[in-house]
Amino acid sequence: MAVLVFPENWDGKFKKLSFELVSYASKVADMLGDQAIVVSIGNVEAGELGKLATYGADKIISIENSALNALDDQAYAGMIAEVAQKVNASVVVLSNNNTGKALAPRLSVRLKAGIASGVGKLPVSTTPFVVNKKVYSGKAFANVEIKTPVRIITLAQNSFEVIESPKPVVIEKSDIQPDQGLMKIKVNDVQKLAGKILLTDADIVVSGGRGMRSPDNWGPLVEMAELLGAGTACSRPVSDEGWRPHDEHTGQTGKIIAPNLYFAIGISGAIQHLAGISSSKYIVAINTDKDAPIFEAAQYGIVGDASKVLPKLVEKLKEIKSK
């Protein structure tokens, strides 16, 4: 038996999310007394694969093929299912990100495995197999029993700490190939925003709402984000109005994020907004209205005008930087 984890790579490199996944799988494997086995798909350098051992992987199975550079839901799921059967996996762990959402449901059908998605903690118990997951967009949690011999977990990003527990690792090049008959998706064009910190990867996020008053007032907010190495985000009306790009919109109908620190500036804290950010470790609210609901979700708050407060914060951060 084994816990199988798919850590995904980005242009041949792993990142923090991959290490969170392997750390999590390795701890679940400890609970079950099983091995943690990684399945990697696509061309990845040996050095990159070796890094995964730092987080407790016992074995790495690498499927390398340059035809696998773009995600094809059906073909990828087929290969992971094949590995899962080969290693007799009792648990399969993926991320609850775009890729995980594409693959986990297909694996569930292929392996007749119950699934719990958006899990943030280690299983509550292993017999019966119960995990805790977010429901109602963060307004509650559910303890879900997965009743099948194989279980699939998708892990919420930034919810599980990276844990170093280096092990000697076996790297095995697999001869599994994608089923060409299943590869039906043709990629016509790729557009990437270069140099921007991905919202889902950012440890700190600075976000503005309608209280920013105008698209011309974003200068100090962006400057603060740069000083903090933070991502920038916004509420839905702000992206709807075209004040900020759509990929910055957080909330129920936008991105769901869980940074360590979230600044909500001129954001009222509507329940649909909170749905996307309530898992943040710390929330800071800056708002002119002392009764704005965002203060109920926040640990730190300033009742004040963003246009006056932001320059003060920027000034202070610069002062710290110059020391």
Partner: protein, 249 residues
Amino acid sequence: MKILVCISNVPDTTTKVKFVDELKKLDVNGIQWVINPWDELALTRALELKDDAANGIQSVTVAHVGLSTSEPTIRKALAIGADDAIRVNTESGDAYSVAAQLAEVLKNENFDIILCGIESSDHNGSTVGGMLAEFLRVPSVTCVSSLKFENGQPVVSREIDGGKEGLSLPVPFVAIVQKGIAKEPRIAAMRGIMSARTKPIKVYEPQAIDNLTEVVNYEMPKPRAACKYVDAENAGQLIDLLQNEARVF
């Protein structure tokens, strides 16, 4: 071409959820049920595509797994503009059973494009669409933010980390949609509401399919510590607190 939109029936997003029966069940008292927001946008997009005759869309159907108590939600979808509906008459169980019930019915139909939402706002599964595609053995694309027709063929774009990918794939396929698929949900006009009453809802009896998962109980989130206020005049103090107390940078 025929489009199907799978819709789930969820509590209005502003609902303050409560649980009863030793935290085993949702307290449905006073809950307003609505079409899952993503599904409403998917339906809107399907209708926009049908409006343009050049796309050659014959019909837009909605499908739902649920008891007759969710018929108001189906009628609302018909009022917005769907031509007809399919309902599988069983309590909506876990994602696997919902997808399996849908697949049983759909394998005898010939929809070209099946649209699902990226997640239901109740159990936040993000799983029914992908499962349905696998049961039907058709390709799928997840995180779809645009669906249009070029030279009579559907093209989609999906969100990837830090960007977008434009894709084409043969029908039939499942597109699992998210932000961007449509701007604002289409609202039912008076004429739509009147005609919805007579539009057909085909009801299918369920297959014997087991749930693979079960909710043991629910928990409410732990209350957060009360907010600590910093005076706006001394805003810089906030940075000190974040650095030395919260230690976030």
